[in-house]
Amino acid sequence: MTPPGAADGPESPAPTSSVSAMGSAAPAGALVPFERDESRRQVKVSRKGDVDEWGRSERMRGLARTLYGPVYRNWFRVEWEGLEKIPTNGGALLVANHAGAIPSDAPAIMHGIETELERPVYGLADNFFRTLPVVGTMWSRLGGLPAHPDNAYRLLREQRQLVLVFPEGAKGPGKTYRERYQLRRFGRGGFVEIAMRAGVPVIPIAIVGAEESMPTVFRLPSVARIVGTPYLPVTANMLTMGPLGLVTYFPAKIKMKVLDPVRFDVPPDQDRYSRSRVMDESEKIRDRIQDALYEMLRARQSVWFG
């Protein structure tokens, strides 16, 4: 999981043999590498935890897989279509529609890919998550990180990982039940630009079922402003189950369809990309997810049984 040359964990100290190799790439002023004095190196530590540089802990993730597995299989009865389109190695940016007052899609996608493809997925989320005690830390340990372009680039380009992003942002889960499956604006197309810069494909995923697992009946924007959250929904879950509804989803059947990967024939690592091209590609991907959603909804017989 650690990239070559990146800030290594203590378990893989920088190999001294590569000193000369690095020296040749360095400017003339620094041809003589500074010797690493092994005698002064008194301490050798093994890490006590397994939290990686992004805050993800495989141990916590494993625990979450064990706990979430039954929910995934028996509650949401998640079904995938086209999972083979997600590469088993190399970086790719997964892009999906986002729904449910507390979105049930992110954990389902991450769990599904991790169990089926046995590779980690890093989920990009709003910075707001990070400001929440406990929730922010849990999210981080389970593979979430703040949606900063630098984070995405480093994960995709240098570490060739899978990164999941919801371009609708908070506007997706913030919409009410009446607006279900109507995709919001895809931000400013930042995800396309990151994929271009990182030289990885965008893999769109259409999800049906998350909307019905925790539908928002109405919103309280003024309360949200006071509390300081991006949105404050009153969900059907809360109305029917009371406080229990805050954390309980309806057992809607979740179906996911992986669409064909989108590759951009542009050179990576450019300073900037054509704004119109970025917006066009973003819009195209949005349309494809929207079309897939309508198609899946037409085929759906029941919210609960699919």
């Binding site: 690095m22 005690p133 406990v134 703040p146």
Partner: protein, 382 residues
């Protein structure tokens, strides 16, 4: 340089002539084998100034070391000349001119705000740096290398931050606390100076949280409390750099004349809970809301010393990309985890051996320096 100086030097036939000659032919600083580097270290009385001066004394290519500070050095120095200056470094121009230094190592910047009023720190950092650069950029200046020890504090600490800051990443939010604002101002002066003086190698080193066997910072103090403070529900990742690596990086950039900005930080990020666990401590969570309402009274009681900057650090942590300096050949002796381990080793040692170390005292004053020091290029005007 005036004619008077040259004639004075030739008539006296001092060995200094060769040195000044070398200095005036500028640029040659790059070659490295030139004998007699003349180095000025600011903040000699501070931990860093003392350590840097000690390291320079071991280097035979360094001929003269002049250290400035408001307080006397706290470490034993063999050949470093100490000059007491006022807090604003107003005497600096005279010293630079008199000693004909070619290198300035500015270690004086204060990052730890605990023992200083909110007003005094910007005053010291900013005005001191201003005077330093004013002296270094005067027409007669012989300065060809400037190394400034800054801190990754300039990147700030906010929820919008990326996991890794590289040298070009801008801050997410504007600077608010005193150390951040003063360092930002200082870095502005450094940039201006580098732009105005293209013939000078200006190196700006940004160090992450320093830890090690000797240094004392708010973090090391926190880690030595019976219970390590944390903020409930937050477990940010920290990056550390060992104090020896700090000194080595300063010497490395000095030896190779590497202008530019460099992050200096150990490899790897450690969750705060793991840092505490490495130190064999448990954490005591502070409430996540209205935290300062709890920390301020505790601070006044002297139980806990947690400046504003560190409170946000205990929420969001900070990671910096250390690859730029590594690509130039620098090797760290310690990763973040190893630096923490080295720190806790020394705490253990101090506990068993006791604090019976010899306290060094320095007794000499500025006048004596000017009268007897070979570092002073004796101009008739002086």
């Amino acid at each position: 340089m005036s004619d008077g100086t040259d004639s004075f030097l030739t008539s006296a036939d001092l060995p200094l002539t060769t040195v000044t000659g070398a200095v005036t032919t500028a640029g040659s600083a790059r070659s490295g084998e030139r004998p007699g580097r003349r180095v000025l270290v600011t903040g000699l009385g501070s931990f860093w100034g003392g350590r840097v001066a000690q390291a320079l004394e071991a280097d035979p290519t360094v001929e003269i070391i002049v250290g400035l500070d408001t307080t006397e050095p706290t470490v034993e120095l063999e050949r470093t000349e100490y000059v007491r200056v006022d807090a604003n470094y107003s005497i600096l121009a005279r010293i630079v001119k008199a000693t004909q230094v070619d290198t300035i190592i500015h270690t004086f910047l204060i990052v730890d705000p605990t023992h200083m009023s909110r007003r005094a720190m910007p005053e010291l950092n900013v005005i001191g740096t201003m005077n330093l650069f004013a002296a270094a950029s005067s027409a007669m200046s012989t300065v060809r290398n400037v190394i400034v020890k800054s801190s990754t504090v300039v990147y700030g600490c906010a929820p919008e931050d990326p996991v890794w800051f590289d040298e070009e990443t801008p801050r997410s939010r504007s600077a608010r606390t005193a150390p951040e604002r003063s360092l930002e101002a200082v870095e502005g002066y450094v940039r201006d100076f580098a732009e105005d003086n293209p013939h000078v190698n200006v190196t700006l080193l940004r160090f992450s949280n320093v830890i090690g066997s000797e240094i004392e910072t708010p973090l090391t103090r926190a880690l030595q409390l019976p219970l390590v403070p944390s903020i409930l529900g937050f477990d940010p990742r920290f990056q550390f750099v060992h104090e020896d690596d700090v000194i080595r990086s300063i010497l490395f950039t000095l030896a190779h004349s590497l202008p530019g900005v460099y992050n200096v930080a150990g490899d790897g990020l450690l969750p705060w809970s793991e840092v505490a666990a490495l130190c064999g401590k448990r954490t005591a969570p502070l409430p996540p809301f209205f935290t300062s309402a709890f920390t301020n009274p505790l601070g006044r009681l002297g139980v806990l010393d947690l400046p504003e900057d560190y409170e946000s650090l205990l929420r969001y942590g900070r990671g910096v990309d250390n690859r730029r300096l590594k690509q130039l050949g620098f090797r760290y002796d310690y990763t973040s985890a190893e630096a923490v381990e080295a720190f806790i080793e020394s705490v253990r040692l101090r506990k068993t051996l006791g604090e019976n170390e010899f306290r060094y005292r320095y007794e000499r004053d500025v006048e004596q320096f000017f009268r007897h020091s070979p570092a002073v290029v004796r101009d008739k005007g002086l």
